[in-house]
Symmetry: C2
Subunit: 308 residues, 2 copies
């Protein structure tokens, strides 16, 4: 039961009201792979970096059970770099610098040993590259989860629509769901998006939780109320990684199991934001994960006695 993760492996430089970092390791595929590694050990990565990327960052991935045979290392080139500053509310941010570098001409190659994966996580990346990876798989995975962002709605609409049409689960945030459909109501937006192809839609609302839509069914998972959100970078990718990792572990893609996957994904995301970058999700114990999930159970569980 293998999981293929595609997405960026990159340098981030982050400023929040709590401090700032130099270049730290990040990227959608880094966060998603690390989060998934708490649930399944058969994780295959497809991505690209320059030769400025430190070997020990790659070793960290390997030590979490992530196979990096599909991680291209480009000699004499630089890795993708993003620099951003979060506002006081932590829900909005300014991009201060983006250097595509090796990502500009990335041509993903899925190694033969990666074939027959049953779960595919298409982390946020050019939709064209997400499609290229899908087309290289000889057998369609059991479940394809795709994350994307508003940038591709602005710059690669047709590619994005073609990619969305081919996946099983789409994850986007609330503002992006509204931009994609021109609907303010998330219920109406979800109805429109489910007609574009995906059978499942996850709308991420950051500190306000996440919604899962499937047909006429809807499930809501809260975010854990935290004393401080230290750095939101990678929280969405960590959520997606925890979600698909849990599904790969349990081998069950029913709506009911996706609910559980969303709770596990939310738990992983709640760790991610507690420290800068990947620091918190690099060193979790299984017990910490289970305790955190129990906090979600306690947060929302009630038994109702219907009034007669």
């Amino acid at each position: 039961m293998s999981l293929l993760v595609v997405g960026t492996v990159a340098f981030d430089a982050i400023e929040t009201p709590f401090g700032k970092t130099d270049r730290i390791f990040g990227g959608a595929a880094t966060y998603a792979s690390l989060a998934a590694s708490y649930f399944t050990k058969n994780i295959n990565l497809v991505s690209v970096v320059g030769d400025d990327y430190p070997m020990y960052a790659i070793r960290q991935l390997n030590e979490h059970g992530v196979n990096t045979d599909g991680l291209q290392i480009k000699d004499g080139r630089k890795s993708f770099f993003w620099k951003g500053r979060y506002h006081a509310d932590m829900n909005s941010r300014d991009t201060l610098d983006t250097q595509l570098n090796v990502l500009a001409d990335f041509n993903p190659i899925v190694p033969d040993t990666y074939q027959n994966c049953e779960f595919l996580m298409l982390g946020n990346l050019m939709p064209r590259i997400q499609q290229q990876v899908m087309s290289q798989l000889k057998e369609r995975p059991k479940l394809v989860v795709m994350d994307t962002m508003n940038f591709w709605m602005d710059t690669a609409w047709n590619d994005l629509m073609a990619t969305i049409a081919k996946v099983d689960v789409l994850t986007i945030n609330d503002a992006e769901a509204r931009q994609l459909t021109k609907e303010y109501s998330l219920v109406k937006a979800a109805q429109k998006i489910l007609k574009l192809g995906p059978r499942f839609l996850i709308i991420k609302k950051g500190e306000h939780g996440a919604l899962l839509f499937h047909g006429s069914q809807v499930f809501f998972a809260p975010a854990l109320p935290l004393e401080d959100v230290f750095d939101p970078t990678g929280a969405g990718d960590t959520f997606a990684g925890g979600f698909i990792g849990y599904l790969a572990r349990t081998k069950d893609i029913s709506f009911d199991n996706m609910k559980r996957g969303i709770i596990y994904g939310s738990a992983m995301a709640s760790f991610c934001v507690e420290k800068f970058g990947t620091e918190r999700i690099l060193n979790l114990s299984q017990e910490e994960v289970e305790d955190r999930v129990q906090e979600f159970v306690d947060l929302v569980q009630f038994d109702i006695t219907l009034v007669d």
Copy 2:
């Protein structure tokens, strides 16, 4: 097991992206009483109107089991009037006109027949008036729930603090919790507010649900994802009325029962916003209420299998 409700009974004129109303019946006590009436029939109202207030609006309250002996009708005076316009997101609004009228010199009088109430709802009103009502009760109610708003933080800070110190449950929205404590984190804000007097705190987050804090415990109830929010006016009062009405009905003020109360309050609020003013909550069947509560159960319920 009687419930005493104090708050405004007023005219509202409302503009939303869906339309606008002339003067319609509203006010915190109107919404809270109507919502509570689906759970308990022993409801006593303390408020004030001018003689411009139509008799049939009062009769509507009576028909819902609301005793209006404590509703003062001032000859030759006008009722409180509020006019507002909601923005496209329905989360923010501009006040276009406020005419205090009879509210300016309101001197609440609790009728003798209202004594020995076990539940007291202090709807949003000058904190001084909320206190006056409490001081007229010969026996302290079993539970006092207080709603308030940012306006009193700006204009009547000392009165507000003195009133908050005396209640069991405080309900405010997220922006107000932040303003009250100068803390952005709602967890930190809640910790501070629970030191001001109330043993329970409900932070209302509108379309993002509500949080209940008590000691180190926290419970989260989502808002129901709706296709359209037609008019948010009175949703917070309806929530509070449904909450305290459910508690009065079940005679149980434990944390676990408050969770249920919040779900019932949220269900009532979800009806309120579906039409202008009180229209939707005037004519609900018990079955509609129970069906709506079941939608909340379906929305958040999951059974977790902890990963070994």
